[in-house]
């Protein structure tokens, strides 16, 4: 099956810093989602981005499908950005709706 790797596994930053999280995947995909899991366990949709670039406030994401990676950028970090960030992909074979998750990047923002 498709493999998803995220880096770095852990990241500790001062409030106000910028960060880049990476997601590599092993095969062609027709769906890529970025999620933020908050300390209460809720999984929040950040981006649906199978290709191209999107921005939402201080967050933006870029997926280069031909090179099989995606990047999540967080600018001017706030303590509420802390949590685990997951990348999940769906393979491009027909009828496959299953998402495969990476093991996540744990982000800690220090005041």
């Amino acid at each position: 099956g498709i493999q998803v790797e995220q880096s770095p596994p852990d990241l500790i930053l001062q409030e106000g810093a910028n960060s880049t999280l990476r997601c590599n995947f092993s095969d062609s995909v027709n769906n890529l989602q970025w999620f933020h899991q908050n300390p209460w366990g809720q999984l929040i949709n950040l981006f649906y981005i199978p290709s191209g670039t999107k921005q939402n406030g201080r967050l933006s994401a870029t997926t280069v499908a031909t090179e099989r990676y995606s990047l999540l950028y967080i600018s001017s970090s706030q303590t509420t950005d802390s949590g685990v960030y997951f990348c999940a992909v769906r393979g491009s074979n027909f009828g496959n709706e299953k998402l495969t998750f990476g093991t996540g990047t744990r982000l800690t923002i220090i005041p």
Binding site: G41, L43, L99
Partner: protein, 111 residues
């Protein structure tokens, strides 16, 4: 906004009990999913359903069954709960080819 509602945030059950986890979505999505999340293992797919009364096994279906009698409701059943089924359970739903939306999760402890 999509609303995926899981019946309990926290649940404590005893070994051998039959356990029902309920999930309801309000967006008329065809697809519904059950995942479990464990430290170091990420999110893994247990079962999914693409229509009423239809189900497909995911990566780790052993020890679980599911029921989808109505389009909006997808139930996960632990026939005889065991301690290794202590985990965080997450339900999701989607239209075909569209992003998955997750509920808040149920933290299940089996004593």
């Amino acid at each position: 906004d999509v609303k995926v509602t899981q019946s309990s945030r926290y649940l404590v059950k005893r070994t051998g009990e039959k356990v029902f986890l309920e999930c309801v979505q309000d967006m008329d999505h065809e697809n519904m999913f059950w995942y479990r999340q464990d430290p170091g293992l990420g999110l893994r797919l247990i079962y999914f359903s693409y229509d009423v009364k239809m189900k497909e096994k995911g990566d780790i279906p052993e020890g679980y069954s599911v029921s989808r009698e109505k389009k909006e409701r997808f139930s996960l059943i632990l026939e005889s709960a065991s301690t290794n089924q202590t985990s965080m359970y997450l339900c999701a739903s989607s239209f075909w080819g569209q992003p998955q939306h997750f509920g808040d999760g149920t933290r299940l402890s089996i004593l």
